[in-house]
C-alpha cells in the first residue's frame, strides 16, 4: 500500500500542474485550429537552426519548434514539477509528526524511500511523455509534421536529466532532514551564482575570464542535463543516458544510506 | 452478581478488594453454592482491572475453598457442605467486627479512623516482643 499512499500524497500536486498545462495546450490547439501564425516561435531561438533528419524545406521551422519545446520549455516544466512534487516522504513526516508511525511499520526505510522516489520518477516520465505528445500534436496542427517516436525518446532523455536533479534534491533533503533548506539553498546558489558570474563578467579582466568560465560551466551543465542532441543529431546518446541513470542511482543510494543512519 | 469497581488509591490492594467482594457475596447469600462466577476476562474488562489480578483473585479463592475452577467451564461457588476451618472462622469473626464497627461509628469515627485504630491495635498487639513494655493506646 506504499505506492497507493504516496500516490494519494502527490496526486493533488501532480494534477495541479497537469491541469493548467493541459488547458494551455487545449487553448493553443484550439487557437491553432483557427489560425496558426503567432504561435510559431521566431527563427534564431536558442539552439535553433540545427537540422533534423526530416523532410527537406520545413526542417528549419521544425527544428525551431522542437528547440522551443526540448531546448527550454519541457526541461523547465519538468524541473518545476520536480520542485513541487519532491517535498514529502520521511523528511516531511518528521516535521508533520507522522514519521513515528511510518517508522513503526514493518517496512524498511530503504523500501519506504525507494517507493516514493520511484513513483515520483514515474510521474515525471509520464508528464514528459504526454506533454510531448500534445506538443507534437500541436506542432502537426501548425504545419510541422512531427516525428513522433523521436520526440518520445527525446522526452525520455529530458526526463532523465531532470531525474538527476531530483535525486540531488532527495539527497540534500535527507542530509538536512528538511526540504525548505535544500530548496532555498539550491535556488539561492543557482540565482546567486548566475548573478555573481554575470557581475564579475561585466567588470574585471579576471572577472571576465571567471565569468566566461562560469557561464561555460553553467551552460555545460545545462546542456548535459537537458541534452537534446538526440533530436538534433539523430543517434541515441548512450553515454549521456547511461551517465544520467548512473548519477540518479548513485545519488538515490546515498540518500537512502543517509536516511538509514539517521535518528528520528 | 454485580461487582463494584475497586478503588486503586485505597491502601487495600485491588485483588484483596475483589476477594472481599466475592466472599461477601457468598456469605450474604447473594451468590449461592453452585452459582457460576462471571468469566475472568469479563470481570477484567468490566471493572477495567488487570486480567492477571482477576486470575489471582480466582486462584486465591479456589485455594481458600470458596470457589472451584472447572476445566473449560468456568468458576463456580463451591457447595459449602464441608466448609473448611478458615472460611468458618471468618464467618464467626464477621459479626464481631460488625458490632465493633457499628459501635465505633456510633462514636463518630469514620472509615479511615476505624481502619487506623485497627492497624494500631494489631501493631501494639505484637509489641510484647519488644525490649521495653509499652503502654497501650488510649
Amino acid at each position: 500500500m506504499l505506492w497507493y499512499k504516496n500516490w494519494l500524497e502527490t496526486r493533488g500536486r501532480l494534477l495541479a500542474i497537469w491541469l493548467p498545462v493541459f488547458l494551455g495546450f487545449a487553448l493553443a490547439i484550439a487557437l491553432a485550429i483557427r489560425s496558426a501564425a503567432w504561435l510559431v516561435p521566431a527563427p534564431g531561438a536558442p539552439h535553433g537552426g540545427a537540422l533534423v533528419a526530416g523532410p527537406g524545406d520545413r526542417a528549419a521551422e521544425l527544428a525551431n519548434w522542437w528547440a522551443f519545446w526540448f531546448g527550454g520549455t519541457l526541461p523547465f516544466l519538468l524541473a518545476a514539477l520536480g520542485l513541487i512534487l519532491a517535498p514529502g516522504g520521511l523528511v516531511s513526516e518528521s516535521a508533520l509528526g507522522s514519521v513515528s508511525f511510518s517508522l513503526s511499520l514493518p517496512a524498511s526505510r530503504r523500501r519506504q524511500f525507494s517507493v516514493r522516489a520511484a513513483l515520483l520518477l514515474l510521474e515525471l516520465l509520464a508528464t514528459a511523455l504526454w506533454t510531448t505528445l500534445l506538443a507534437a500534436g500541436l506542432g502537426e496542427l501548425l504545419g510541422h509534421p512531427a516525428p513522433w517516436s523521436v520526440a518520445l525518446v527525446q522526452a525520455l532523455l529530458t526526463a532523465l536529466g531532470v531525474a538527476v536533479l531530483l535525486s540531488l534534491g532527495f539527497l540534500l533533503a535527507a542530509l538536512f532532514n528538511d526540504w525548505a533548506k535544500p530548496l532555498a539553498l539550491g535556488l539561492g546558489l543557482f540565482l546567486g551564482g548566475s548573478l555573481l558570474v554575470n557581475l564579475m563578467a561585466s567588470f574585471t579582466e579576471v572577472g571576465q575570464r571567471l565569468g566566461r568560465f562560469g557561464i561555460a560551466a553553467l551552460r555545460a551543465t545545462y546542456e548535459f542535463l537537458f541534452n537534446d542532441s538526440f533530436f538534433i543529431a539523430g543517434h541515441f546518446p548512450w553515454r549521456h543516458a547511461l551517465a544520467c541513470v548512473a548519477l540518479t542511482l548513485i545519488l538515490l543510494e546515498l540518500a537512502i544510506r543517509v536516511t538509514e543512519r539517521r535518528d528520528y | 452478581m454485580l461487582l463494584l469497581k475497586p478503588n486503586p488509591a485505597s491502601g487495600v490492594p485491588i485483588y484483596v478488594q475483589l476477594m472481599e467482594q466475592i466472599r461477601h457475596a457468598v456469605e450474604t447469600g447473594a451468590m449461592r453454592p453452585g452459582d457460576q462466577l462471571p468469566g475472568m476476562r469479563k470481570v477484567a474488562e468490566d471493572l477495567v482491572v488487570n486480567p492477571n489480578t482477576v486470575a489471582k483473585v480466582y486462584r486465591e479463592l479456589e485455594h481458600e475453598g470458596l470457589i472451584e475452577l472447572r476445566q473449560g467451564m468456568g468458576a463456580f461457588v463451591r457447595a459449602q457442605a464441608g466448609e473448611d476451618q478458615g472460611a468458618q472462622r471468618f464467618r464467626l469473626g464477621q459479626p464481631i467486627v460488625k458490632t465493633a464497627v457499628a459501635k465505633l461509628r456510633a462514636l463518630g469515627l469514620d472509615e479511615d479512623e476505624i481502619r487506623r485504630l485497627t492497624e494500631a491495635e494489631l501493631v501494639h498487639a505484637r509489641a510484647p516482643r519488644a525490649a521495653a513494655p509499652t503502654p497501650k493506646p488510649r
Binding site: 500500500m1 513526516e93 513515528s100 508511525f101 513503526s104 524498511s108 | 477495567v48 488487570n50 501493631v123
Partner: protein, 296 residues
C-alpha cells in the same frame, strides 16, 4: 517465570552532550501490563524509539520478542509483531479513516479483522472523514485501533490517554485490558499514575537515565508503608537508620517514616521511642514515584 518480552542490558544513548540513557536495564515480563514511569524528558520516548529501531543505541544491547534491536532486518520483524502509538499520535492527515486502515492492514499478516470491526464500532470512527478533520481524541483512538487490530504480541504505548476526555479514556483502558486478557504484553508510558495503579501489574521507573525501581504493583503496595508516630511531648530525632527506611519527616509532635519494606518490623523497632500512637498507612503509587525521582 515468564520470558522477558523486552530486555535491555546497559543500553546507552546520548544526544550531543546530553546522556539520555546511561545504562538502561529494562525487563518487561510477557503477558503483563507494565507501566513505564518517569519525569518529562527522562528518556521514556527515547527508550521506546530505541526498541523499535527508530533511534540507534550508542552502547549496550536490547531484545524485543527475542530479536536484537540494533539489527535493521531483525527490527522489521519486531515491528511486524508490535503495535506502537507514539506521543504525537501522528497519522497521515491527507488520508481518510478508511484509507488509513486499508493502508495499514496489508503490512500485518496477523491482522485481526474481528478486532478491527469491534473497535471501529466501539470507538465510533467515521470511515470517510479525513484524519486532519478528526478531534484529538478520535485520532488517539484511531492510532490505538491500528495498533490493536494488527494482532501484535506486544503493544508499546506512549501516553495513550493523554488529552482524552474521561469517556474516551475509559474506552482506551478497557481496550488495553482486553488486549492483556488475550495475552498481549502492554508496555505503557504514562503520567496518569492513577490509571497505572488501576490496570498495571508491574512498574518500571526511569530516572537519571536508568531504571531506579522495577517491581510488581502488588509488591509495592504490600511493602511500602508510611509509619505515623505521635508523641506526648516533642518528637524524638528519628533518622533513617534501619534497612527499609526511606525518608523521615518531623512535624511537631509527629514523626512520619516512609518505608519500602519491613514495615511491621520497623514499626516494632520504633516503639522504643514510646509513641502514644502508631499507624501504618498505605502509600499510593504517586508517593512512591515522587520518592524515586527526587533530584539529588
Amino acid at each position: 517465570m515468564p520470558d522477558a518480552v523486552i530486555e535491555t542490558i546497559d543500553l546507552r544513548k546520548r544526544f550531543g552532550r546530553v546522556e539520555a540513557l546511561r545504562g538502561l536495564n529494562l525487563n518487561v515480563p510477557a503477558g503483563s501490563i507494565c507501566g513505564f514511569l518517569g519525569r518529562n524528558g527522562s528518556g521514556k520516548s527515547t527508550t521506546m524509539k530505541l526498541l523499535l529501531g527508530m533511534v540507534r543505541p550508542d552502547g549496550g544491547e536490547g531484545r524485543v520478542l527475542g530479536w536484537p534491536i540494533d539489527d535493521p532486518r531483525a527490527s522489521v520483524e519486531i515491528r511486524r509483531r508490535t503495535g506502537f502509538v507514539s506521543e504525537e499520535k501522528g497519522l497521515y492527515s491527507y488520508l481518510t479513516v478508511e484509507q488509513m486502515i486499508q493502508f495499514t492492514r496489508p503490512f500485518f499478516p496477523a491482522w485481526n479483522r474481528a478486532l478491527e470491526d469491534r473497535y471501529r464500532r466501539l470507538f465510533e470512527l467515521p470511515a470517510e472523514r479525513k484524519i486532519k478533520a478528526l478531534s484529538k481524541g478520535m485520532r488517539a483512538k484511531l492510532a490505538l485501533l491500528l495498533a490493536l487490530a494488527r494482532g501484535a504480541e506486544l503493544l508499546i504505548l506512549d501516553e495513550p490517554t493523554d488529552g482524552l476526555d474521561p469517556a474516551a479514556n475509559e474506552e482506551v483502558l478497557q481496550a488495553l485490558v482486553a488486549a492483556a486478557a488475550e495475552g498481549v504484553t502492554v508496555f505503557v508510558a504514562s503520567h496518569r499514575l492513577a490509571e497505572i495503579e488501576q490496570i498495571a501489574d508491574c512498574v518500571r521507573i526511569l530516572h537519571d537515565g536508568r531504571i531506579v525501581l522495577a517491581a510488581t504493583l502488588d509488591e509495592l503496595k504490600e511493602n511500602y508503608r508510611r509509619i505515623q508516630l505521635v508523641f506526648a511531648g516533642a518528637a524524638p530525632a528519628v533518622t533513617v537508620t534501619l534497612a527499609g527506611m526511606v525518608e523521615v519527616r518531623h512535624e511537631g509532635r509527629a514523626v512520619s517514616v516512609l518505608v519500602s519494606a519491613r514495615a511491621e518490623a520497623i514499626a516494632d523497632e520504633l516503639q522504643r521511642f514510646q509513641p502514644i500512637s502508631t499507624e501504618l498507612l498505605p502509600v499510593g503509587l504517586k508517593e512512591i514515584f515522587l520518592e524515586n525521582v527526587k533530584r539529588p
